[in-house]
């Protein structure tokens, strides 16, 4: 269907020559934009409904009572993957968890996985790479969150929280409680408004990602990237992980880029490491964390996450 629309626009309406390089690139861009926008609209509407009913305080209550010899990290990481929340809420959420008596390491497991395993990106993955890769990606994100949280919990890092946070943690208080009894139809206008808002926010990243993907697709010769970043280059994984840290994009914007990179012969493990690093480690993220963590803790956090992403990249390149 999208193929036909793109055909109509490019070759019928604009009457461009279908053998031309640029008209092919334009066709690819229109086709991919339509397909991905459609997917994005579907996913954010669906997630909006989930979000409206999702009880974050219950998640917290659930984690509070768990002492499972390390398994609580896995649990926190899984919950981080499925819990939808806006990044502007991450500080109150972080402090809310700690105040509820959830250990710092477990809270970090939650916080690390949350951006790594993004629902919108997962659905795009599913549409582009299929089920196997999607499951592997999701499990890896959960794995990174679990392992890094576990390691960090062994280091006793509570003293590297900002002083005002430490002060806050001394006073343990009950979370504000209120019930939301609205019916589904009462929720719809709000869900709709929120979905439109989210769409407007992420679509520039998505279109940007598709444009970059399109350029790679059309102009980078096949095998060129493979020669430098292929399986033979043992530094390819760390290089792409580190290169990705200063880059910031919404997860949905990275997926089309990854798609083109893989098509041009970059191994999937290297591509996934790149993606995880873009979405999981970024300057805005560091700025946000700076409000609650001292620089040293942010440093340890970023280093540990980066190292585990690199390890995963290598493992995937070996296995996949």
């Amino acid at each position: 269907m999208f193929e036909q629309i793109a055909n109509t626009i490019v070759f019928d309406w604009m009457a461009l020559d279908s053998s031309h390089h640029w008209s092919q690139a334009l066709h690819f861009f229109i086709y991919d934009s339509l397909k991905i926008s459609f997917l994005v609209i579907f996913v954010i509407s669906f997630m909006g409904v989930v979000n409206s009913y999702f009880p974050v305080d219950k998640v917290r209550g659930f984690l509070e009572n768990k002492k499972l010899y390390g398994l609580e990290h896995l649990l926190a990481s899984i919950l981080g993957a499925v819990t939808p929340f806006c990044s502007c809420s991450s500080i109150p959420l972080f402090i809310g968890f700690l105040k509820g008596g959830i250990p710092l390491g477990v809270t970090l497991s939650f916080l690390i996985t949350s951006p790594l395993v993004n629902e919108v990106a997962l659905f795009l993955f599913l549409g582009i790479f299929g089920l196997k890769v999607t499951v592997i990606y999701a499990l890896s994100g959960i794995f990174v969150g679990t392992v890094v949280g576990l390691i960090l919990s062994q280091l006793g890092l509570e003293t590297y929280l900002e002083d005002w946070v430490q002060e806050q943690l001394k006073q343990k208080m009950e979370m504000a409680k209120f019930e939301d009894h609205r019916t589904f139809s009462q929720r719809v206008p709000e869900i709709k408004a929120e979905a439109i808002d989210t769409f407007k926010r992420i679509i520039p990243y998505v279109l940007g990602g598709i444009a970059i993907g399109g350029i790679i697709h059309g102009f980078v010769p096949t095998g060129y990237l493979e020669e430098y970043m292929g399986k033979d280059n043992i530094f390819a994984v760390p290089i792409s992980t580190i290169l990705a840290i200063p880059m910031y994009s919404n997860a949905s914007g990275v997926v089309p880029v990854i798609q083109s990179l893989v098509a041009k012969g970059i191994p999937l493990g290297t591509a996934m490491a790149f993606m995880m690093s873009v979405v999981g480690l970024s300057l805005p993220e560091a700025m946000l964390l700076k409000k609650v963590m001292k620089l040293k803790l942010i440093g340890i956090y970023f280093t540990t996450v980066a190292l585990s992403i690199i390890c995963l990249g290598y493992i995937f390149n070996l296995v996949l």
Partner: protein
Amino acid sequence: MKIKVLGSGCKKCIALEEHVRQALSELGKQAEVEKVTDMLEITQYNVMKTPALVIEEKVVSSGRVNSVEEVKSFLE
């Protein structure tokens, strides 16, 4: 009456503040509306999701932009 909108300054918090002001004017009520962006103060209300709405020091909603109608129901 004292109303606080808690939030780090993202779009949603601004929208919620607008809804509060509109609700007040539709009801013809007067109230002091304050926007709280300081993280320390926000977390002292024990909310985990922003924006949150506080009326007379009581948290009535968190994590979403309440409609004007809903804000009105809180105010009455």
